[in-house]
């Protein structure tokens, strides 16, 4: 299944400046794997060395944080939007 993943501004340099990318997968993990295979530089921004999602990056399926769904095993269906939401600190 093809699902749209929204790429936040700070990570767009690693996705050829695309603000969203359509990738194939049935779960969030599959989508993120497909995404980091397509854009290998993205990987270290999303995952730590031990393969866990970094603590300053959250993944949402529609408006819900996957930490409160099924984590990486959260299944996705047609029309879902997956968002990568990293911490940003600018304000000045």
């Amino acid at each position: 299944m093809k699902v749209k993943v929204m790429i936040p501004t700070p990570l767009r340099p690693y996705t050829e400046n695309r603000d969203s990318v359509e990738v194939e997968g049935n779960t969030v993990s599959e989508l993120l794997n497909a995404l980091t295979q397509k854009y290998p530089q993205l990987k270290r921004h999303l995952f730590s060395e031990d393969g866990n999602l970094r603590s300053f990056v959250n993944i949402y399926v529609n408006d819900e944080d996957i930490r409160y769904l099924d984590g990486g095993n959260t299944s996705v269906k047609d029309g879902d939007v997956v968002s990568i939401v990293p911490a940003i600190a600018g304000g000045n």
Partner: protein, 385 residues
């Protein structure tokens, strides 16, 4: 927020706030609440400017501002509190002048200092609401934790380029910032506005949303962004709202908190790649670089900024390889030669130096302070941005 009954409006204020008074949701009672409320704004910059203007105009009784910076010409593209004649002046002095002339009924209190673990609690406890308009992770975590401990609402906003985030963190009624992000990114991984840029109007939009939420909090009306994260994408002109939940394992507001007092937030957020290189002597000063170049030493000089920055200014003889392109271009570099990397201020090039060192390069150094330092020390005729 509770003793609204005791303050009265004067004749001038009835007229000044007339458009508020005739809205049933605000009215005289609401305007009295605003007058008896106090708000502490952290940062008198991009977000702090529109925030302070609108809260002052709305008649919030007492407004505190914390900042330690002076106005720079490069601030004026977005920090609307300050004008051209304020360049070089303290931001807080400049802010006080504008705000007092906008509304002399408001008591403006300024704190010319860096917010730290030593002073944060004493300062924040004097205010009803805190609005976070800072520009760095250590201060954001500090403000969050202090607000959790003091049970104060923290109206949060942050920006990057074309994108903004807003929420109201209020641990008594919902999640806090640490429920959303347990830990900050390692220093240098997420560029700051100074490095990444910000569209001038964006802080205006995000700051006014923060002001709006602050006023709703004071008035007790409408639905607040408690438990919600509002995302704004200026290019797409889209607002999206995500759900935030209180994390039972949150280290500060969870069921078994591990952080029970303010900590060392600089240490918590880690030392920057730039500081690491400085400590291990892997940097070169502008003066040293100039001497080497003049002596005709064999140096590969690499500019890791973006093409648009390179167009504005560059050190003669440098080659442009933007940081994001470095991994794919690394094969073009000769490991045996001396390499010096630079960017605007030394942050991005420090990451580039680390990257090359991880790949086995041993003769790489970071230009301390970047091209900004080069302009200051070596060539003041070069354009700055």
């Amino acid at each position: 927020m509770t003793n609204a009954g005791v303050v009265e409006l004067n004749r001038e204020e009835f007229l000044r706030y007339g458009r508020h008074l005739i809205i049933p949701e605000v009215g005289l009672e609401g305007q009295r609440r605003l007058k008896s409320a106090s708000v502490l704004i952290i940062g008198a910059g991009g977000l702090g400017s529109p925030l302070a203007f609108y809260l002052t105009a709305a008649g919030v009784g007492r407004i505190g501002m914390v900042d330690f910076d002076v106005v720079d010409l490069s601030n004026l593209q977005r920090q609307i509190l300050h004008t051209t004649k304020d360049v070089g002046r303290s931001k807080l002095e400049s802010a006080r002048e504008k705000l007092e002339s906008l509304n002399p009924n408001v008591k403006i209190e300024t704190y010319e200092m860096r917010l730290t673990s030593e002073n944060a609690l004493d300062l924040i406890k004097e205010y009803d609401i805190v609005v976070d308009g800072t520009d760095n992770f250590p201060t954001r975590y500090l403000v969050n934790d202090a607000c959790v401990f003091l049970k104060k609402p923290n109206v949060y906003g942050s920006i990057f380029r074309f994108e903004g985030q807003v929420s109201v963190f209020y641990a008594d009624k919902g999640p806090c910032y640490r429920c959303l992000y347990k830990e900050p990114p390692p220093p240098g991984l997420v560029p700051s506005c100074a490095e990444g840029g910000v569209l001038g109007v964006l802080p205006g939009i995000i700051g006014t949303i923060q002001a709006l939420e602050t006023i709703k909090l004071i008035l007790g009306i409408g639905e607040l962004l408690i438990g919600k994260l509002l995302l704004f994408d200026a290019l797409k002109m889209k607002f999206r709202e995500l759900k935030l939940r209180k994390d039972p394992e949150c280290p500060v507001c969870g069921e078994n908190p591990t952080v029970k007092e303010l900590i060392d937030y600089e240490a918590f957020c880690g030392i920057t790649p730039e500081q690491t290189l400085h400590q291990s002597g892997l940097e070169i000063t502008p003066e040293e670089l100039k001497e080497k170049l003049e002596n005709g030493e064999d140096i590969i000089l690499i500019d890791v900024r973006e093409p648009v920055e390179y167009e504005i200014n560059r050190i003669e003889g440098s080659k442009l390889i933007p940081l994001s392109k470095l991994p794919e271009k690394v094969n073009e570099l000769d490991q045996t030669r001396e390499i010096v990397l630079y960017c605007k201020m030394g942050g991005r090039s420090a990451r580039a130096v680390q990257l090359l060192r991880e790949l086995g390069f041993t003769r790489v150094k970071n230009l301390a302070g970047g091209i900004d330092a080069w302009i200051e020390k070596i060539d003041p005729t070069m354009p700055r941005y």
